[in-house]
Amino acid sequence: MKHDALIQTVIMTQSEWPLWEVFIRSKQGLDHKHVGSLHAADAQMAIQNARDVYTRRQEGISIWVVESKHVHASNPDDAEAFFDPANDKVYRHPTFYQVPDSIKHM
């Protein structure tokens, strides 16, 4: 019974299925964007739940789900050390080039 272990876990944690993060691609050529999270017993159920919860109003053409425990986040306490040093380095932006008029979508 392959779902057995999973459902046992669910019962032990009082019907709380694992949390999943949901990413939706709204149309071809765009990135998958994080849209929210939901509970599901496994990946297959997570995708179906995502379809029912997040694509009811034509929001998407593709779904990714990732179990939330696999997402590792930066620590807010590190924010200064991580992100502030980039503030005064304008030369890292490619804004000093002349873009010819014929180049679109830059």
């Binding site: 779902h3 459902i7 179906q48 029912d52 919860v53």
Partner: protein, 271 residues
């Protein structure tokens, strides 16, 4: 409700070519399909706010809305076929239980989640395979409605099949419950493909699919799912029929009482 397809009456040239008799028969059959989707959709809508988890609550509400969309297209077509000035609302809200033609399965109570899943599975297995045939139907309007509904029914069947497997192949309790639901509901499944006198006549003139043609694929799918779910298909079940001829179980009256309350109490009321 905006989902329902809108057709101009002139869009179906076949309508003019039907004899009054065939037109009347087709009206009754389309009405039967509409009643079926309406009653099952209503049953599912009763779960709204009571689902085991939020995600499944939404899943069932989505399926209910799909069925309601299909219902509206069918009632609108039925009203045109009848040509007596009745509207889709008249057909849904102002007919009594004995005038309803849905099979018994779809009016059965929600019970527990396993009951709802099994009822849905038995219906979806029929609905999906029936619509697959109906998309090639000689009646273009029915074919068009089927084409839209088939995409939805494909998902419904996936949803209910997976839940039968999860429950059957899950814990001891889920297995016991789904087994009980199967024992209880299987006897209503036969009616879906046992043709009534009306259906036989329409099948003879080729206006609706032969149920014999879809039986094999229905059985194959049911066997595959039940096996994966570690469940056994009940054998030699006496199949209950009558719904498609207007002889219903006690449950339909209660459904209609709730469903039709507003129109019966405040006739002609609009939102």
């Amino acid at each position: 409700m905006e989902d329902a397809m809108q057709f101009a009456p002139s869009e179906n040239p076949a309508l003019a070519t039907y004899s009054p008799e065939v037109r009347q028969q087709l009206f009754r059959f389309v009405l039967q399909l509409a009643d079926t989707s309406l009653i099952l959709g209503h049953r599912l809508s009763e779960w709204c706010g009571h689902g085991p988890i939020l995600e499944q609550d939404l899943a069932m509400a989505n399926i209910a809305l799909d069925l309601l969309g299909e219902t509206r297209s069918l009632y609108q077509y039925a009203a045109e076929l009848e040509g007596q000035g009745r509207t889709e609302d008249d057909l849904a809200y102002l007919r009594s239980a004995t005038e309803y033609r849905n099979p018994l399965l779809v009016e059965q109570p929600n019970g527990d989640f396993a009951d709802t899943v099994v009822r849905q599975f038995l219906f979806d297995n029929f609905h999906y395979h029936f619509l697959k045939q109906l998309v090639n139907n000689a009646d273009e309007r029915l074919a068009a409605i089927a084409e839209k509904s088939l995409k939805e029914a494909t998902y419904h069947l996936k949803w209910s099949s997976e839940w039968v497997i999860r429950l059957g192949d899950g814990t001891e309790e889920s297995h016991r419950r789904v087994e009980k639901s199967i024992a209880e509901l299987w006897r209503f499944s036969g009616e879906l493909t046992i043709p009534t006198a009306l259906e036989k006549e329409l099948q003879t003139i080729g206006l609706i699919p032969e149920y014999a043609d879809i039986q094999a694929s229905m059985t194959a799918h049911a066997e595959r799912v039940m096996e994966e779910a570690s469940l056994v298909i009940p054998q030699q079940v006496f199949m209950l029929t009558g719904g498609k001829d207007g002889r219903h179980t006690e449950h339909l009256g209660y459904i209609l009482t709730e469903l039709q309350y507003m129109q019966r109490t405040y006739p002609g009321m609009t939102w």
